[in-house]
Every structure is written in C-alpha cells, then in structure tokens.
C-alpha cells in the first residue's frame, strides 16, 4: 500500500493552491512606494568599441530621474566568477573583467551600456531610445575554432587570446589513453554539436532595489535560485555592502533551470541605483531581453573516440571539446564543461582509461552557464551516442554492449576522479525493458511501416553526479564557495514547526516534500510544518537550489536540525515523565517511556519548552529551535535507463516521439508524485533540445532565434505520454535520507534516447550512411540526412 502521509506519500503540492489561484507573489508583483523604473540601453552589435555616449537628450526627457553609464560604476567591482579552473599546464584560467555597465567595449548583442531611470516605465523606455551610443563596430568572434586561430580578433583586449583555459582530465592519463588507442581492436569516432539553448523560464528576470535611508540597509528583491549566493557575490565583490546591511529576497520564482543561479548586472544595478537615488528602482526583463541577457546553456562542439576490444569491451575514451563561454564568465560557467562534464565521462561503464580535453573559448555571444543538467547532459549525450555507433559498427545489440560494460560493483572509483557509492544499472535496464514493452517493438514497427512511417527505437543509460557538493572537494577543484546547505527548525509553543531552509523552491515543490520529511520524523501531520525559504533575513546562510541538491543536501540539513530538536524534546519529555532521556521513544507525535504506558504528547513538550514552569532549567535552555549545516562527503549518483520510440515521416523528415519510458534510480523517494513531475519536465526539456530548440547567431553575431517565432519551445502536443518508474532504488549510502536527487535526470537522459531512435529508424529504412544527426533533429535536417 502506498503511504498516505510522510516520507513516500504522494502528497499534493500545497504551494499549488496559491499558484493555481493567482495568489503567487513573484518579484514583478512587488511594487514599492515611490519606486522608479529602469530600462537598459543595450548593445545592438556583437563587438564594438564604445567611442562615446551622449545622455544629454535622454536626461532632459519627461520623467527621467537619472541616466547611468559605465562611468558611474568606475569605483564598483565587476561581476565575479565563482569558479577558477586550472589548465593542463597548472595555470589559472584567463579571467576577464565583467563590468556592470560596459567600459570601453561592448562584447555581445545585449551587453548593457547605460540605464535610464524614470518615473514610469514608458518614460524610461522613451528616454532609453534617446541615449546616443557611438560604437565603432569590430569584427565579431563567433566560431570557437576560428576564435582560437592566430590573428583572431580578441573579445578581451587585455587577454592574450580568446582561450579561457585548455583543460586536461586526467592529464596524467593522457599518454596511457593514447597508447590504448594505438593498440585497440576497434575505434569508434564521433563528432557532434551539443547546441546552444536559451533557458526560457516562464517568469522573466526581475530586480527591485531598495535603500532605507534611516538604517542604511539595502534590500534586493530578485528572481533567484539562491538569494544568499547573490547577497555574498553582490555584497562582497560588486557593491561593497556587508552582509548584515544587505537583504536579498527571492520570493515565488517561476522557473530557473539554472539561469537564475547567476549574479546578473541588473541586480547590482538596481541595488546601486536605489541607494544613489534614495528611492526604490525596479527592472523587469522583457521576453526579448531575456533571449539576449539570460545566460545560455550547452554550446559544446565535441570529438569523442572509444577504443574497444574484439568482444566490445570499452578500453579507453578520448574527447576533445570546445566549450563556449560567451563574452564574459558567468558565475559558474568555467565549472560546467570541466568538473560537471569531465567527471561524468565514465557514465555507467567500467572504461579503465579516460582522457577529456576541454578548450573554453570567449566569443561575442551571450555568456553560457549551467542549464538543467549542466555538463552532465553534454557528457551523457556524447557517450551514449558514441556507444550506439560502436554497437552498430561491431554488429552488437545496443543493450548487450551496455550490459557488457556496466559497472556492477560498488563503491566504484572511476578513472575520472569520482566514486560512485551505489547503483544497479542492470536493474534499471531490466525495468526499462519491461515498462517500455520492448518485446512489442517489432509489432509496432510493422504497424508504422504499414502506414508508411519509419519507426526507430533508441535506448541509453545515464548517470549524473548530484547533491552538489562536498565543499572540501570542490574547493580543491576551484570553487570559490562552499556547497553545504542549512536549515533552522523552529518549533512553536503550540507544536507547529517552521523550517527555514537555505534551499530555494522555484517549481520543485519543496514546501510539500520538505514538510513530509520533518512531519514523518516527528510523527505529526504535514500541515503542522511550514517551509520558509527565499529571504536572507529569515533563513540561515544557504547555497540555494541547483544540481539536484535540495533534498540530498538541504533535506539532510533539515534532518540533522530535526534530530537535534527531537533529542532536546526527549530530554524535556523525560523531565515531564520523571524518566531518563535514554528511555524516551517518539512515535506518532507522542513521547513514551519505553516499556510503560506513560506518555506525553508532542504539544505538551513544545508548550513546556516555551512555558518552562516544570522544566529542567539548570540543564536545558528553554525554547525549541535548532540549526544545522550539512556538507555532503560525496556527490549522489542517480542513474537510469531511457527508451524512446519515434516515427519519422520519410517524405518530410518530421520526427514524432511515439513512446518514451524512463526507469530511474533516485534512491529513496519522499514524494513519488513530485518525482514523476520532475522527470516529466526533464524529459520534455530533453525532447525540446533533441528535436526543437536551438540558439542561432548569424555572421554578425545577431541572435536569429531571438523570439518564439524562431526559437522552438516544446509544447504539449510535441510529447507522448511518458512511462516513468522509480521503483529501482539503491539508496545513497552517505546522506541520512538515502536520496539522490531527481531534478535534472530527465533532461540528462532523454536527448540521446531521441537521437538514437531517429538514427535507428533511418538505419532500419536502409539509410546506412546516417550514423549521426546533430540536435535539434529538425525535419529539414532529418530529410537532408536521408538524401545522403
């Protein structure tokens, strides 16, 4: 029987009541008394020298309060990068300045040059058009390989080249890997593009800055996945505001997918301008602006090779990836193609030798950073496409070649520096074969054929490293932050709890699933637990939500804090019942003395904590509130197997996804319904990447797919019904909940399944030369591939 409450129950998402009744409170819903409106003047060219800026006319227009330019930020720090990667030769990456407003040069279409602050939004818009910008256009740097050639124009004049870093991993393995390729029985090679994506959260970014002249406190309301990180980065590195004088609030946030992790210029601007003008300053991103200012995702060009023996055993993997950084280093950009990508190149397989080379490149494009999966989809896609190609070349079954190479013993130390604690890849693959009804494929194939359609089956496995991350480890790898999480559990006198978490929910359902965990531990109703997040003023310092970390890391902190609460509550209960604390048991919200019928209710104990008339005051402080910080000692490793069946229209090349099945191992599950939803969303996003989405720049660096007229977002009718299963559970061995994280799996696991299925369909139809088609597999591309 499925549980109806607590851990494991499909509790309905309590936050949906406000979201579905229009009572969510998003940043744009915040309007402060006396607020002014900011409109950014942005570069229209990809690369140019800023020779002059005339704001005279704009400043004189109706309602204009002030026009800010780069000169106003001369004494202010630039936007910091949170991760320093060390290159193959032991040198730190090239790290250019990232000014709040352009200084001397503009480096991508959308780069902010000036800001008009006016009484109304329309007045600010009018005046922004009157700002005269004198830009001398320079040749744009767009293609990554060309950017690294001799004589290429420089995105940053003060750097020696457009190369951010040339990273080798594991550098010491390089020669051994090359040697393995020399003597390999068979080598499979693949070149592919993991295309640039625009995140497209439903809610565009918003920032409202406020300054209290009476206290000298600054407040920033912003669309963020991690308000404490923004407070730290903006306060310490950009504006010089100590954290106790700076509050950052991220209220309801309508999706992030990574793009709202990063600290953006607009946040710093609104905070700065509010203080300068002594009044609140609000900026709301337009959708068009989102396309050219939200950090983009992916954008890798990869060559990958697999060495195999005659039996199909993987012997070595070698890759070379060019990773686009865009014009500046966004907050965590350098970590994505390196530590979130290279460390995953073992996949689910016991390949003994792996060498990953990544060249990160500056170009005159929007900065690229983490986007749902962040590095792990790129790793999975290239590996799982390559394995399919290898199986075909060797005449092996794609399932058999995977099984042959599966890691089956845990813990398993990969040759790329991570140790998988637990997993069972055969179990998820077996489950997949069952739920995807692979036995029925031939009949479906025949049925498609009868209708003149080509049918294909794609399967793949994936692994990801989640629960980001052990601070001591990421510190060695260049992170300039710790990646623990925090929770404060405050028990009120009448027994209700408020849990203040450093995690941030922007669609994940934390308010429901976190409450389930705490309620389950105490044995009380979920509705007695309230989850508070998103405001640095009332939550402990936390690192926020990304990397499928919230339950694994934030949830663990919550468990630790609740354990402290229970330990103290047992002492109070022991006092009330004149027993020893060691003899107290907590079950179903009641404390009993073991082996007796003596009992006090949860509410009696909490009341005693705050009305300590009968209370061991000499031994115990009154009150019931505890904080815990949790720093994981390893990543978690969710894994699974996905299957996709497509039909291809042979005349038009149009691909339709007919069936999609996902068998995931997320360890223990707190709320299976929310997990289903997370996987559904991830798969939809992955199918979007596989078939539809693509950010395209023209030769001048203008974003051609800069609106929904040309950037194809997936829609409901692009999707089949999904069959998802997470009954294969190998609990994480090192966090108290045994959970692994589920937020990114769908987006990581699904693109190769789709691509493998399309190639399979074409191969079955006799297009033997089609071994790969780059994403998105648009009708035009699939048709072109069929033409040979």
């Amino acid at each position: 029987m499925p549980k109806d409450h607590g851990i494991g129950a499909p509790s309905k998402r309590r936050e949906d009541v406000r979201f579905l009744t229009g009572q969510g409170r998003y940043t744009d819903d915040i309007n402060l008394h006396g607020q002014a409106h900011a409109v950014f003047v942005r570069s229209q060219v990809a690369h140019g020298r800023l020779n002059g800026l005339d704001t005279t006319a704009a400043a004189a227009m109706p309602g204009v309060i002030r026009v800010f330019t780069g000169a106003d930020f001369a004494g202010v720090g630039g936007l910091p990068c949170g991760w320093q990667v060390t290159d193959r030769h032991g040198q730190p990456m090239q790290e250019p300045a990232h000014p709040v407003l352009a200084q001397g040069k503009v480096r991508h279409v959308g780069d902010p040059i000036a800001v008009v602050v006016a009484e109304t939004l329309e007045q600010a818009r009018d005046a922004a058009e009157a700002v005269e910008v004198d830009v001398e256009e320079l040749e744009p740097v767009l293609d990554m390989k060309a950017a690294l050639s001799d004589g290429a124009p420089l995105v940053h004049d003060d750097l020696t080249s457009n190369l951010c870093y040339d990273w080798g991993f594991v550098e010491e393995n390089r020669e051994a890997v090359n040697a393995a390729f020399e003597k390999a029985h068979h080598v499979t090679k693949l070149e592919l593009v993991n295309q640039r994506l625009v995140p497209n959260a439903m809610e565009p970014r918003v920032a409202v800055g406020d300054y209290n002249t009476g206290t000298g406190d600054s407040t920033l309301y912003t669309t963020s996945q991690n308000p404490h990180v923004i407070r730290l980065l903006m306060g310490a590195f950009v504006l010089g505001i100590p954290e106790h004088k700076l509050r950052v609030v991220a209220p309801d946030v309508g999706g992030g997918f990574g793009s709202k992790i990063f600290h953006y210029a607009e946040e710093a601007f609104c905070t700065f301008a509010a203080k300068a003008l002594r009044r609140p300053v609000k900026w709301t991103c337009t959708r068009s602006e989102s396309f050219i200012t939200d950090a983009h995702g992916r954008d890798h060009v990869t060559r990958i090779e697999l060495a195999l023996d005659a039996e199909g055993n993987f012997q070595a993997i070698r890759t070379e990836t060019h990773a686009n950084m865009g014009a500046y280093l966004s907050t965590f950009a350098p970590s994505v193609p390196t530590w979130l990508h290279g460390t995953l190149m073992a996949g689910n397989y016991k390949t003994p030798l792996i060498y990953v080379n990544v060249k990160a490149v500056f170009t005159n494009t929007v900065p690229v950073d983490a986007y749902r999966g962040a590095g792990r989809p790129e790793a999975t896609y290239q590996l799982e496409r390559l394995i399919d190609k290898a199986a075909r070349e060797l005449g092996m079954d794609p399932i058999e070649i995977r099984r042959r190479n599966f890691i089956t013993e845990f813990p398993y130390a990969t040759p790329v520096a991570v140790e998988y604690d637990t997993g069972d890849y055969n179990a998820t693959l077996d489950k997949l074969i069952e739920i995807a009804d692979l036995a029925g494929f031939d009949a479906r194939l025949a049925e498609s054929k009868a209708r003149g359609r080509l049918r294909g089956l794609g399967i793949n496995c994936y692994i990801e490293a989640c629960g980001i991350a052990p601070s001591h480890l990421v510190g060695q790898l260049g992170a300039r932050a710790g990646l623990y999480e925090s929770a404060t559990v405050r028990v009120n006198a009448t027994g209700g709890l408020v849990v203040m978490t450093g995690s941030h929910s922007h669609g994940q359902g934390h308010e429901t699933s976190f409450a389930q965990v705490v309620a389950d531990m105490i044995g009380i109703d979920e509705n007695m637990v309230e989850i508070v997040h998103g405001d640095t003023a009332n939550t402990p310092m936390g690192m926020g939500t990304y990397g499928s970390r919230s339950l694994a890391v934030g949830g663990s902190a919550m468990v630790r804090a609740t354990e402290k609460i229970i330990a103290k509550a047992k002492k109070i209960a022991a006092h009330l019942m004149e027993a020893s604390p060691e003899d107290i048991e907590l079950k179903d919200g009641a404390f009993t003395v073991a082996g007796t019928d003596r009992s006090v209710a949860w509410g009696d104990v909490t009341l005693a904590a705050y009305v300590p008339h009968n209370y061991p005051l000499e031994e115990l402080e009154p009150g019931l509130e505890e904080t815990a910080f949790y720093d994981p000692n390893n990543f978690t490793y969710p894994a699974g197997a996905y299957a996709c069946e497509v039909e291809v229209d042979p005349e038009t090349g149009k691909v339709t996804v007919e069936r999609f099945a996902a068998a995931d191992d997320f360890g223990n599950i707190v709320n299976p319904m929310i997990v289903d939803g997370q996987v559904h969303g991830g798969i939809a996003q992955g199918i979007g990447q596989a078939l539809l989405e693509r950010a395209v720049y023209d030769e001048y660096g203008q974003l051609l797919s800069g609106s929904y007229m040309d950037y194809a977002m997936p829609r409901a009718d692009d999707m089949p019904f999904f069959t998802v299963d997470h009954s294969c559970q190998t609990p994480c061995t090192h966090n108290p909940l045994g959970v692994k994280g589920c937020g990114e799996a769908g987006a990581i696991g699904s693109p190769p399944a789709v691509a493998n299925a399309v190639v399979d369909a074409l191969q079955r139809a006799g297009h033997a030369s089609v071994t790969h088609i780059d994403m998105p597999l648009t009708p035009a591309r699939v048709w072109a591939a069929m033409q040979g």
């Binding site: 329309e122 818009r125 009018d126 058009e129 068009s288 005349e651 038009t652 090349g653 149009k654 078939l691 539809l692 693509r694 395209v696 051609l704 797919s705 929904y708 007229m709 040309d710 950037y711 194809a712 977002m713 648009t778 009708p779 035009a780 048709w783 072109a784």
Partner: protein, 263 residues
C-alpha cells in the same frame, strides 16, 4: 508601445475618414500589428479599429453561389461557420495559430498584411477569390504582389472576400516548429475551369501558383500526376528552419497530400 490615438468607428465611412490622417493605420484583429507596436517597431499616429463595423463581419452565401466572408470575421468564426459551404477553408482557419489568435485574428487582416507564411493567402489564390474593398473588387491573381505587398492603395479597406466554392479542395500545411506558421502550405482547389495550386511559406515572393502542377492536375487530379514534377528552389526562402531545396521538396509533398485529401 508608443502612445497612439485610438479610434473605433461604427461605419466604414467613418473608418475611411479616420484613415486619411497622416500615418494612420487600420487595425483589425491586431495579431501582427499589436506585437509590432509593443516592440516599438511601428509608430502610427492613430489606430483605426475596423472591428466595430457590422457590415465587415459575418459569413453568408450570395445569390451567385459565392461564399462571402466579411473582412473582420475571425478565424474562429470561419472555422466554425464556413465548414458547411467550404470545408477546406474552415479546416485551414482551424489550423491558424492557437485559440487566442483565432479568436482575435481576422481574414481581412491576414490578407492585408500578406505575411509570406500566412495560410489564408493560399486559400484565396487557389480559390480564385475576389478581394472586395471599399473601392473595387480585386481578383486574387492581381492582389498578391510579393512579401507583405498587396494591390491595396493607401487608405483602402478590405470589406469582404468572395470565394467561389470549388468542386474539391484541401489545404496541407507543414508547420514551422517555432511559430507554427506555414513552413510550406499548399492549397489545392479543383474547379470546373481546372485545378489551381497555391503555395505559401515557401517563396521569397510570397504566395504563388505552381503552374506546372496545375496543368498536370487539371489533366489528372491524382497525387501521382505530379510525381514527375520538380519545383525550382531558386526563389525559395532559406532560413534556420529549412533550405530552399527542402522547401521546394515540401511543396511537392504537400501538394500531393492536398490532392489526396481533396479526393
């Protein structure tokens, strides 16, 4: 949006008078114009809405058998009400945009704009319809003058579109994945005078008739009749959704499918 004067007259005469103002712009369903204004890509002095003029609305069959659709009739109304008379046209209307677009967008607005990827121009051209304006009747063959260009004069308002009802017809649209406008759309109409084939979405010159296919299909109205034909890719649109070759190929595929659907 820049601030703009807004006028919503109740008669055609008042609308014509309103459009005499310098830089005045007629507004019908606004599904192209309003987004353009919101992007500040146009700055008319005045918008003259045509949607409160009763004589521009509605669907009827005239004594001469023509299906007459008022210029400000929405796609949703055409989809709901034209089916009894001209099913292929109703189905075309039902595939335009999404419900919000179909309940605001109008046939007259679509034709006046003449987006090279819009659906209605294909139906109008293939049907050999008449575009009736406040001043004259314009034959479809004379009306479309290239991408976003029409025979309409400054201040001229489409009042009605008069469709002869063909013996058989069908529209096949291959949607551009992002906008879901026609990457290629083909309308085939079989009339007593022969078969007409109009293609939208494909050409740099906007909607056009595929003469070779018309000739072949007039002789043999079956998908197989065009098997040996190929369309030159020279004037086809080249963009991130499709090459000229792909579009030329799709025109043939969609024509064949339209013919099959019209059987």
């Amino acid at each position: 949006m820049y601030s703009v004067e807004f006028d919503r007259p109740a008669t055609l005469e008042a609308a014509l008078a309103g459009l005499k103002a310098e830089d005045a712009q007629a507004l019908s369903g606004g599904q192209t114009l309003i987004p353009t204004l919101k992007q500040r890509l146009a700055q008319p002095s005045k918008l003259v809405s045509l949607t409160a003029i009763p004589s521009l609305q509605g669907i009827c069959v005239a004594d001469d058998g023509m299906l007459c659709i008022g210029a400000t009739t929405t796609h949703a109304t055409v989809a709901a009400e034209a089916g009894a008379h001209y099913p292929a046209l109703a189905r075309l209307a039902a595939q335009i945009g999404d419900p919000a677009v179909r309940n605001r967008g109008t046939i007259g607005g679509s034709l006046a704009n003449n987006d090279p990827s819009a659906c209605y121009p294909a139906a109008v051209l293939a049907s050999g319809a008449l575009i009736r304006t406040n001043a004259r009747d314009i034959a479809a063959d004379d009306y479309f003058e290239g991408m976003f260009a029409t025979a309409l004069q400054e201040g001229e308002i489409i009042t009605e579109i008069r469709f002869p009802i063909p013996e058989a017809a069908a529209y096949m649209k291959f949607a551009q994945p992002a906008s879901r406008f026609a990457l290629v759309g083909v309308f085939v109409a079989k009339t007593a005078g022969g078969v007409r084939v109009a293609v939208t979405g494909a050409s740099e010159e906007g909607v056009f008739r595929w003469g070779a296919a018309e000739e072949a299909l007039s002789a043999d109205f079956s998908a197989g009749a065009i098997a040996g034909l190929s369309l030159p890719a020279d004037d086809m649109i080249d963009d991130l959704h499709g090459t000229p070759d792909y579009r030329a190929h799709l025109v043939k595929v969609m024509t064949g499918r339209a013919v099959s659907a019209a059987q």
